[in-house]
Symmetry: D3
């Protein structure tokens, strides 16, 4: 097994590889004294974390949590974000400022898209305050779990802006209840675990944070035992299909699988199934 459980030297993220959970990476947002709020260097680092895990062949599933007891993340560190946004980089000309802000948003969005683009499934376990940018993050993840005490809020309108890092693009495709999405985004009201489960925003509720983290790791382990060719393909094809017509989805799937089906994982999996044992798959 390749998981060496080393800690990567990230400043705001702890990345570990639980020794009892082969092929699982556990990423923790680590700025608990500030309720895990994000400053620019954090989201730039977050991109590095997920880009690196995406191509790490020792990783097959990822769990994302927030350090501390109070918050998955209370969103952006508003003070720092607004300083950056209203800096004079663009000069006094409105159009030049517009260019500057657009580049800034695009770069910011890219950091978050690293989670969606990450080839391995990302499971997000949320607790406590999970506001604003926290929703952007988990909407880019594949599966969302939460604790009973979680408090969600898409609260960007309360700071005078339409959310722009991804939640407005992703939420309508994550949750099939467009009226609810609009209410949540237009009112910025908080909502809890039960409501999140009912509308399909989260898959499962856990009583306490420890249970949610353990539940996430178990789910990740279950996925990490499958063929990585199957798992990575499934994530890619589901994300592709979400954004395309059925016909386009089928066409892309056929081309994708014309190579992927030539894997030895299929006979390996079939044989293990017949022999009732856990298969072992080569790294990918």
């Amino acid at each position: 097994m390749a998981s060496t459980a080393t800690k990567h030297p990230y400043e705001y993220f702890t990345v570990c590889f639980p020794s009892d959970r082969p092929y699982v990476a556990h990423v923790e947002i680590n700025r608990p004294d500030k309720l895990n709020t994000f400053i620019e260097s954090m989201w730039l680092e977050m991109r590095q974390v997920f880009d690196q895990l995406s191509s790490d062949s020792s990783v097959r599933a990822i769990v994302l949590t927030g350090a501390g007891n109070r918050a998955f993340s209370a969103g952006l560190d508003v003070k720092q974000a607004s300083t950056e946004l209203f800096s004079d980089k663009g000069g006094s000309d409105t159009a030049r400022k517009t260019f500057h802000i657009r580049r800034y948003i695009r770069q910011f969005q890219e950091c978050l898209t690293a989670i969606e683009r990450c080839e391995k499934p990302v499971i997000c376990a949320m607790h406590g305050f999970s506001y604003g940018f926290a929703i952007d993050i988990c909407a880019a993840a594949d599966i969302r779990l939460c604790t009973r005490d979680v408090q969600f809020s898409v609260n960007e309108v309360d700071i005078g802006m339409a959310a722009d890092i991804g939640v407005l693009s992703r939420l309508p495709k994550v949750v099939g209840n467009f009226g609810w999405v609009k209410e949540i985004a237009l009112t910025a009201r908080t909502f809890g675990a039960e409501e999140a489960l009912r509308v399909g925003f989260v898959n499962t509720i856990y009583d306490i944070k420890e249970a949610a983290v353990r539940g996430s790791l178990e789910l990740a382990s279950l996925i990490a035992q499958k063929s990585p060719v199957a798992v990575l393909g499934t994530k890619e094809l589901l994300n592709y299909s979400r954004d395309h017509s059925i016909q386009e989805g089928l066409r892309y799937t056929a081309v994708w699988n014309s190579g992927a089906l030539q894997t030895s994982d299929v006979p390996t999996a079939l044989l293990s199934g017949m022999e009732k044992r856990v298969p072992t798959f080569e790294k990918l």
Copy 2:
């Protein structure tokens, strides 16, 4: 405050601006003796209503209800609609009739799209009979609320036609339950408030019409207190994202916000938040 609570001189719609609810417009379908069924002049007028409110800077959120106790709207006034449809405007040549009908449908659709195109959020509160065209209307609105006694029905198949003013295009994107949408549209069966809530067609159920109207106005007020730059942007970006891939959504969002973020509403909102007071935003 700019809301002068004047009544606009519409024939089939009452538009008022409750004095205790700044920036909220209340539109009422007003043909209760006919169960608020629609004739052609009504949908043409409805377009005027929403086009006008869309650009009225004294309005930030809109509530749409039906007058009387029996119906939000029982749909089209079938008699009048069929007379129009089967008039001889297109002459005896089938292709010419086809052109005529297509133009007629496109114009009709445009009237309804005025609700979606309206820059301000539209909250629809439904009670009693809400059949056929009523579903087209509320599917074009942003948020749907209802009373416990509401009776919904997508009943066009019962008059020998596939619905064509928008419900078949919008319902699959409003409700993420495609099997249910098909059952409802193919059987024309009625469904009630609980079922509507369960599938995500409505957000909240109220006991009686008065409560639903009050609830809608409160929701509208809550939204109307937010920055209009934030609220109008959020509606636009959510509607855009519904119809595009994630990548397209992110790209459009960045361009949109590169201008919108230069608003003074952001510092205004931030400051008010810190000082725990309700912010005041310039008209838009």
Copy 3:
């Protein structure tokens, strides 16, 4: 009445036309001793069945069930499928194998798309084991019903592959809960009737298979009594709208109905409605 209740000479499917249910066809997957698992000749035949019913003017709604008590279908006959897939048709060159597999998948997908392309609504009633390919099938149908004992599973990852016959393209559009879809597809875990109902994968649960079949036939009968111009148009427009933006949906709808509205079914339906009798519609 045209339904002559003849049995078509299919090898793996029973197709009958219940004499008490005009315009309804009942298709049964008929390989119960093998849990209705599919071999290649079966999916080729399935395409024939649905292509033929699509253009049969005596049919207005279709019910699809599985013979026997144990399974709607336990999926592919894995042995036969893997033999085919790993045959040497493509030779030893990887790229040539890739071409061969792609053609094979495309043809396989086409067989399944025959259900979606079928002009008449298809209602799928599932019981017992409903694994893998069974989910592909029902996701291509219009309405899904099930028994309380049903066991669903998107289990392709357990045989080392990303599902490629359609479920990954269709499921995200059938069920508006993307996190659940990902969990189900990435873990291959089984889920039951209640969970399926909650997320919107099925419309109704029946206690036993007989009830589910009867319920499906009743639903089919209800639809078959409507104008076929209305019913076929509704299926087409809903499927089209699922894959397109609202604006595209409205445009296509207008062109579609510009011809369809010239049917005598509209006056027929209106008159019957007024006279409170069941209308009779010409074949289509």
Copy 4:
């Protein structure tokens, strides 16, 4: 014949119906003393002109020219346009100005799209100065002709802006030479008739304006003698296909023609063809 050759009371456009050219409308931009430059009231009026001709059953083809000898149109009346654009309607808040400008551009674009949306083919004959907005206009038309002395220029970059009324969206689809389109739009250099013909921007060059106008009217007459069902359908289907994939184009075409082919124009045309006489078609 229905063409009554009346002059419509437009302020900036002359619309006439040449008595010797049945079903042809001739629209002339009529502000020659200002080189037919456009002010806001002109483009609003232009929309009216084309919307009205679009539904006028006495019209089957339209010619668009510019009055006077010096210019088809020298573009926008920059002074008036900039006054409008930089008015204080949006107030001092940048985001509010952004909203105001966007609405203004959208309305402006809509006026121009009236030419593309006009159901009848529009032939544009250009001479002399044809700068800026003149290119937007003719790119929205169906066929472009010009005189030998014409001077074209996409000159918006020379006034500090990217063109926004349509030329950047339409030109790459009108002319299949993307490098040339970029050079022309990025340098603002003028180009003449020969170059325009070579790259496919115009179809034919005439020696003098009178010849170009006569040539346009003859082309319009030729088209106006055809079945309007055929001609209007051809314009619609070509514009639709330009913006969609081949598969989408074929699907839309089939639905469109399923109604249109039921016209008596087909037997009328076939019979006339066999009898070598000019067919007469009912109005549309």
Copy 5:
């Protein structure tokens, strides 16, 4: 070499495999006494021809010509086509006729799309009358060549209809001169070889039919000597890219080639290149 130069037993098409041109198929439309006009059984057969060649591993490039000296094809056999179209299959109800006609057009389109869908490049050599349906055919082919005496015409408007078998969808993507496409389709005027070459509708002009056929066969031979993995991939990727954005094109290309590049044709081709000899590639 596998090309056995057998004649397939088609009624209206001659298919031969010139013994001196390995891997090249020559298809000839063979109804010269009727100017190669098409009746329904012909286009159904044409589909068979191209479907069969698409999967025939002895074929790597296809030439399509018309028998006789007078015409590649003068289009549809109008008499037969109109009989079919106006048959009473749809009954007297307009909507039912609409359904019937749509199905008929869709099936017809599918026959023609067989040329585009054919995995091998199709080179079309045209001479003499090449009207109406002939343009649909060659627009679905990959490369068009012609003789100096060819007469082209998109003449559907002259029989009262908008062309519906594909030319209006394909021509704007084949020729990057939208104004010319519109003129040609709206006027139905004939055009010759020089004009066709100038606008990019044909690649080369030959003096006489024999030269055009020989030129086509030489071009086909040249292509047939290349790696079939490379050639078939190039056709597929170009057609895909035509219908998608650059980003979509790149994504699909990467997935396609991730399998295709594992071919031994690459080292085979490289080695042959270095050794200056003609490579031999395994069948595909």
Copy 6:
């Protein structure tokens, strides 16, 4: 003026800022002894070059040429490329190799897309051998110029593969002659300057390399004197419109310009125009 004419320390590219051409960057591919063929480190470096110029506010237009007299670039250094491609990174499992190759292609494509994504216009001046990858490069540039002696070839099929770094996606959108594109890509034949000009692949032909470089620099200078707000916007909007429908193009344009039009460059440009002097624009 900010252009300090420093040489950046690139290994395979020379980047200079001609002192007499403000705001113009000149990039030269610099491996002339190997005919400027590309190895992996070169395309990775090329990405750096264009990413850096994209955000360098001292640059407004870029010229790209090849060092030496013999070649713009003879394409990939095939030996090195094939070594990389057929390395054992993916291991022995075909599916794992497929993943590896796909990632490799995507990264390679990204390097090339840096030219298209570069905010500033890129003018490509080609001479001598311009094969394979050279075509990918220039198809991603905005404007192509060449010398009379240039030899172009899309020669990937001759090494047994379909081109996958972008030419098959971009060429059909650069040149509006789909038959020619297919011939060129399927035969790998060379073509010269005159043919390239005729089909619209290049804009201008120069006699010798020096003239082409000078011509490119002059064109770049002309563009660099314009408002950068106008120039960068024009590139972005043209590229966006290429990939979207007219309606989408107009919508995006309006949002883009709602910010960009608030620039002081418009009054600056207008005033300079009236005063007949060259305007000076603030950096962007």
